[in-house]
Symmetry: C2
């Protein structure tokens, strides 16, 4: 894999940034990779695992001379971080981000960037329930999608380089406009996360069933919800607040469908339920065929140790 950028600057050092670092090194995609984090604790943890060629305690030094600056901070602070680093950007540099919401991030970031840099928003659809600088690994983006959302009149060459960069990180790349991206993600990610958080909260609130019981017997389905609901709280708070309309629209449809199924249960309408469940089963098959999951039973989980 050929080098694509001379110097890449990672702003924020969480799961995505740390995985990008290891994948950049694996692919030899950049001459130098530097990074920064607001938190001294995070910077220290990153140093310890050998993250980045250099780590700075300020954005000015981090972005100086960088050809690619990647905003890897929670969606809620993208605007503030962009404002802070804008004055130090190299002319002709490309600024991108990895936020899970695009319209809001573009609205936050674009106004702060000088005319002599290229802003090319992106969103890698990859993650785990772990967070922080020590949670990254080079394979995170392999065979996962990265959606590039070029703003109005983005420079085709800058977009093309970023596409090659993400392909070098292991991803399949597609372009999409911001509004459509936010709706697709509301369906495939944002609404499912809120629903998982909710179900886990319900289980925790229930007084007649102890937490111990919920936890011991979670293998029966609840377990998969808890994995989703274990993701970073700050990241997700920001996602819901910044993709408010699409998320609320999907949740509205979800509630409608749920009420219909509840009514079918109450009325003992087995045909309705069976038909519904048969249809959803087919979707699962398509996802496995699309290569976005394994069909090993329980994702090939190993049985747990004795509680």
């Amino acid at each position: 894999m050929a080098q694509i950028y001379d110097k890449v600057a990672l702003i924020g050092l969480g799961l995505i940034a740390s995985s990008m670092f290891w994948a950049i090194k694996r692919g030899g995609l950049a001459g130098e990779v530097v990074g920064t984090s607001r938190s001294a604790e995070t910077r220290a943890a990153a140093q310890e695992v050998g993250l980045c060629d250099r780590i700075y305690d300020n954005v000015a030094d981090t972005v100086e001379g960088a050809d690619l600056v990647v905003l890897c901070v929670p969606v809620g602070v993208m605007g503030a971080v962009a404002a802070e680093l804008a004055p130090y950007l190299k002319a002709g540099a490309t600024v991108t981000d990895v936020g899970s919401v695009k319209a809001d991030v573009i609205a936050q970031v674009a106004p702060h960037l000088p005319d002599n840099v290229h802003f090319v928003p992106a969103h890698p659809l990859a993650g785990t329930e772990h967070s922080g600088p020590t949670s990254g690994f080079a394979e995170l983006f392999d065979s996962r999608w990265c959606l590039i959302v070029p703003a109005e009149g983005s420079d085709p060459e800058a977009v093309g380089k970023l596409r090659s960069f993400w392909e070098g990180l292991g991803s399949f790349v597609e372009e999409m406009d911001a509004e459509h991206h936010d709706l697709v993600l509301a369906v495939t990610s944002h609404a499912p996360h809120l629903i998982a958080y909710t179900m886990v909260g319900v289980a925790d609130d229930l007084r007649r069933v102890t937490d111990t019981e919920v936890i011991k017997y979670s293998a029966a389905g609840f377990r998969d919800f808890t994995r989703i609901a274990a993701s970073d709280p700050t990241m997700w708070r920001d996602v819901f607040l910044s993709n408010k309309d699409a998320t609320l629209e999907i949740l509205g449809r979800f509630t409608e469908e749920l009420f219909a199924l509840q009514r079918a249960i109450r009325q003992g309408d087995g045909e309705h339920l069976h038909a519904y469940f048969t249809r959803t089963r087919a979707i699962r098959r398509s996802i496995i065929e699309a290569g976005q999951d394994t069909d090993a039973p329980n994702f090939g989980r190993q049985a747990g140790k004795q509680p």
Copy 2:
């Protein structure tokens, strides 16, 4: 592992029964294991993979002389199957089941059984999204819980033998009364399944987002819902209809909580969301500590093949 029963009869040959057969053989828990299925197709598929020492096309021959008869059929037909095989049960035999609902199964089955057999309902909390006679494997029950729900005045010796049998299959065993079992399962399994089915259905209905997009980008959270929603439609239809009250109670609480979170999003109440997500994250940790899941990122999934 010592032999516990001379002859075990499996009624129904799906995921649970086929896994029980392989685990019985692994543990040497029975002298002979026979089975039957109403469907000739299922019996043929079972024969092909070497399932059971003998497979019969009728329940009379299957249960004849059996010390343990295991009802592995959908919850909705437990009563009918019990009525059919009752006349052929050996005196002193133990009849058990693997149904996901207990109060309703007991009400269906108990009236048909003669006084000279022991009825000891049970429920192994294990499964995958696959079904049928070829989907079983010996490790399915390893380190998973099996809940035994002894009816009023069950014979302690019969209960003790069934407990040893399930421990021999690899499970941890606990006793619980039927009503409590049904509530615990409504929380840990039944409600989560209905919610997953619903979200997958919503995604499928949505016109402005294509199925292809939903499937391609499912890695972002939706994927885990589809796994749950891929389970056997007949089994689940019966579960919801036979555990109606507990399921509807939990879904009611779920809807309340979901509305509260939707309101927080609409009102931009980030503190409420962050506090909620932080609490749910802790529950996930407890489940990993309880040994009921792995904390390998993405359950240690391998990246998929190129779509």
